[in-house]
């Protein structure tokens, strides 16, 4: 069965420090992978996505993620965190066919940023 694991529930980093959020997935076929961010009271905003091709994908707000098939991972990275990055981050694997698509989400990682 498809599933997504985000091992870190909370992470605190200092502003300007680098960030890596972990994501592991279980999926039988080639996965479609996504990272979304959710700020308090907000819906989910897409940061980046991987469908195929280059395993290092760039997203908005300076985020990037690397797909590693051998490790079933899709970790999110940012070289220098800003205070406005404090939010909850969700990794998702998408199951798609010609006529439907649904996402399986991890339980999220809440990021705190220290001044």
């Amino acid at each position: 069965a498809q599933s997504v694991t985000q091992p870190d529930i909370h992470i605190t980093v200092s502003e300007g420090a680098s960030l890596e959020l972990r994501c592991n997935y279980s999926y039988g076929a080639t996965p479609y992978l996504f990272w979304y961010v959710q700020s308090p009271g907000q819906g989910l905003q897409l940061l980046l996505k991987y469908f195929s091709g280059d395993t290092l994908v760039q997203g908005i707000k300076g985020f990037e993620a690397e797909f590693k098939r051998s490790q079933s991972s899709f970790n999110l990275r940012k070289p220098s965190v800003h205070w406005s990055d404090a939010a909850e981050y969700f990794c998702a694997v998408g199951e798609s066919s010609n006529n439907f698509n649904k996402f399986y989400f991890g339980s999220g990682t809440k990021l705190n940023v220290k001044p």
Partner: protein, 113 residues
């Protein structure tokens, strides 16, 4: 270009009542999905609508039902509410399911007392 809009933003119900949540998809999007996000959890897929029909359904009981209208807007109905139905209900729209990308609304926060 308006994104996905949902109403109401917050509502409180008591056990056994029924609730209807509404969603207008992003302009031009014809597919609507509903997700339930319990506190401290990631969103869970409820069902997806396309051309006014339910295409796919997640692991939710029949108390959860939906509808899609000709203008692509959608409703989520939950009957016989339980305390465990308290959650943020997210609507997402998409244009091309093959691309897999979903656009989410800000959600409707349901509290069941």
């Amino acid at each position: 270009d308006a994104g996905v809009t949902q109403s109401p933003t917050h509502l409180i119900k008591t056990r056994g009542q029924q609730v209807t949540l509404r969603c207008s998809p992003k302009s031009g999007h014809d597919t609507v999905s509903w997700y339930q996000q319990a506190l401290g959890q990631g969103p869970q897929f409820i069902f997806q609508y396309y051309e006014e029909e339910e295409r796919q359904r997640g692991n939710f009981p029949d108390r959860f039902s939906g509808h899609q209208f000709p203008n692509y807007s959608s409703e989520l109905n939950v009957n016989a509410l339980l305390l465990g139905d308290s959650a943020l209900y997210l609507c997402a729209s998409s244009l091309d399911p093959a691309t897999g990308e979903l656009f989410f609304g800000e959600g409707s926060r349901l509290t069941v007392l």
